[in-house]
């Protein structure tokens, strides 16, 4: 749709710069926004990586994301290892499709969480860079330095924020954001203080932005790279993170009999990742319930909880009605036979796993087929994924 929109406006696809999240493995593991079964979804990821490597040199094809894994309950070490493990799986997927590693790896980027345990987070980012560089060079034979560089976006931890005394969330978010910056993040998302209540109000979103601006323009902390490198404590923690991640990689590699790609898919199909994340979430919950870990305003320092009265944003059904109207308008004005032809071609291309689906998807977008229509067409071929419910 980006390509269709840009080319309709006269901008060639090769000039487009941007980032897709496009990380489907973590959907099955954590965020749960999947539609098709894992292997069919991985074909779509392969198609986007191959297409952008050939035709859109400035485009980032996957933002390999630990954020949602952590929010779903993993530990920091699991976030690190599952995310990089997924990254290795995508590298193996693209290599299987015949792409040389240095043709696509420089355009892979990452997305991590910034949780409240300050030094552990900084160690996590530092370990991620070390591991990625080593694996890309040694296991996957990258020779371009840019293939070995790990660049990442950071978002502060929504799950660390509380509905109780919500203004305190400003402080949590500032501390988490600082960990991201000291850990070397390339971009940053700070959550708003009303995260545990609703979508943000204008004021809460502005305060979240101001938090970043204080860090960026008042503190000078971003003037130096890796300011904690050489600290005895941070170096030891970084080593420890790396060691724990390597243990997990060994387990994934074993599940995949020497393939990280197969290991990740098998681990999903066998609920291994999902189970570990749920175990870690429960363990942390029990630590809070036993009072072994503190959340200010939730299990300690409750005075003031009764005064909570933040203005929050209300989303009404009116917004839904407007969007439905816009959609009907598009459907009335488009050339219906062209839409049906485009969806037909999409279905035909989907049947042959060797065909790259991107051209058919772009053509369908140019004909104003909707996302829903394209997804339903592909689901007709691929089927739909249903997660086996486990506690």
């Amino acid at each position: 749709m980006f390509v269709a929109q840009a080319e309709t406006a006269g901008v060639p696809r090769a000039r487009l710069g941007g980032t897709l999240q496009n990380d489907i493995l973590k959907e099955y593991q954590a965020q749960k926004e999947f539609v098709f079964p894992p292997r069919q979804s991985m074909r779509l990821v392969r198609d986007t990586v191959a297409f952008t490597a050939n035709e859109m040199p400035r485009w980032h094809s996957i933002s390999i994301s630990g954020y949602h894994i952590r929010e779903a309950g993993s530990t920091a070490a699991e976030e690190l290892a599952f995310t990089l493990g997924n990254g290795f799986a995508y590298v193996e997927l693209a290599r299987q499709a015949g792409l040389p590693v240095d043709s696509f790896a420089p355009r892979l980027s990452f997305f991590f969480n910034a949780h409240i345990d300050f030094f552990e987070e900084i160690a996590k980012y530092r370990a991620a860079r070390r591991i990625w560089a080593r694996w890309m060079k040694e296991r996957y034979g990258a020779t371009n330095e840019r293939s070995m560089q790990l660049r990442f976006h950071t978002q502060t931890a929504g799950v660390s924020l509380t509905a109780q005394q919500p203004e305190v969330n400003l402080i949590r978010t500032a501390i988490e954001a600082l960990a991201g910056v000291l850990g070397g993040t390339q971009s940053l998302h700070t959550n708003s203080m009303d995260e545990a209540l609703a979508l943000p109000t204008e004021k809460a979103a502005r305060l979240a932005l101001r938090t970043q601006q204080v860090i960026a323009y008042e503190t000078n902390v971003a003037h130096v790279a890796d300011p904690l490198g050489g600290s005895h404590f941070v170096e030891a923690l970084t080593d420890e993170m790396e060691r724990r991640a390597e243990e997990i990689f060994a387990r994934i590699d074993e599940m995949g009999r020497g393939s990280m790609l197969e290991g990740c898919i098998t681990g999903i199909e066998e609920n291994w990742f999902q189970g570990r994340i749920a175990d870690s979430a429960y363990e942390l919950e029990r630590a809070f319930n036993r009072g072994e870990r503190t959340i200010v305003g939730v299990n300690r320092f409750l005075e003031g909880n009764e005064e909570d009265n933040l203005d929050i944003l209300k989303i009404t059904n009116e917004d839904e009605r407007k969007q439905r109207e816009r959609l009907s308008g598009v459907k009335r004005e488009r050339n219906e036979p062209a839409v049906l032809d485009a969806l037909d071609r999409l279905a035909k291309d989907a049947v042959d796993p060797e065909v790259n689906l991107m051209p058919a998807l772009i053509d369908a977008s140019l004909a104003y087929a909707t996302v829903g229509e394209m997804m339903n067409t592909m689901a007709g071929v691929f089927g739909r994924h249903v997660e086996v419910p486990t506690i």
């Binding site: 749960k32 929010e71 779903a72 509905a163 749920a278 305003g297 249903v386 419910p389 506690i391």
Partner: protein
């Protein structure tokens, strides 16, 4: 006394399943029998499962912001089957919404950060019918 049976459920397009799994485990550890529907259910499938499984309480987990629309539909779907199973709602639910939800027949609302003992107590109270018809 037989152990309480609870159906924990997710309705609508809401993939946030950390909370529902944590609650399921802590209810189980408190000696309660727990059945989990899995993701992306409708009010009708939840009501049907609750009646088929003969549960004492439905625990609905919602973090999508759609609770004002979907939670009352679960209550209505249960009643449409001639059942009177209390529905307890948990998740991202602002205090401002609680009164209207109670009026729509939700037995109790557990907000973010509710401790384990409060979750177990609320479910047990709901099972005894003590929330019923309050606020209506």
């Amino acid at each position: 006394m037989a152990a309480l049976r609870v159906l924990v459920a997710k309705v609508g397009l809401d993939g946030h399943d950390r909370g529902v799994k944590v609650v399921a485990r802590l209810l189980r550890d408190a000696g309660i029998e727990v059945i989990y529907t899995g993701l992306f259910q409708t009010p009708e499938t939840v009501a049907a499962a609750a009646v088929d499984e003969d549960v004492d309480v439905i625990g609905l987990s919602m973090l999508s912001g759609a609770h004002m629309t979907l939670a009352p539909l679960v209550v209505q779907a249960v009643r449409a089957r001639g059942a009177d199973i209390p529905v307890v709602l948990g998740g991202i639910v602002p205090n401002q919404d609680v009164e209207e939800l109670r009026a729509a027949g939700i037995a109790a609302v557990l907000g973010p950060g509710a401790p384990a003992d409060e979750v177990v107590r609320t479910i047990s109270t709901a099972a005894r019918g003590e929330h019923r018809h309050q606020g209506v």
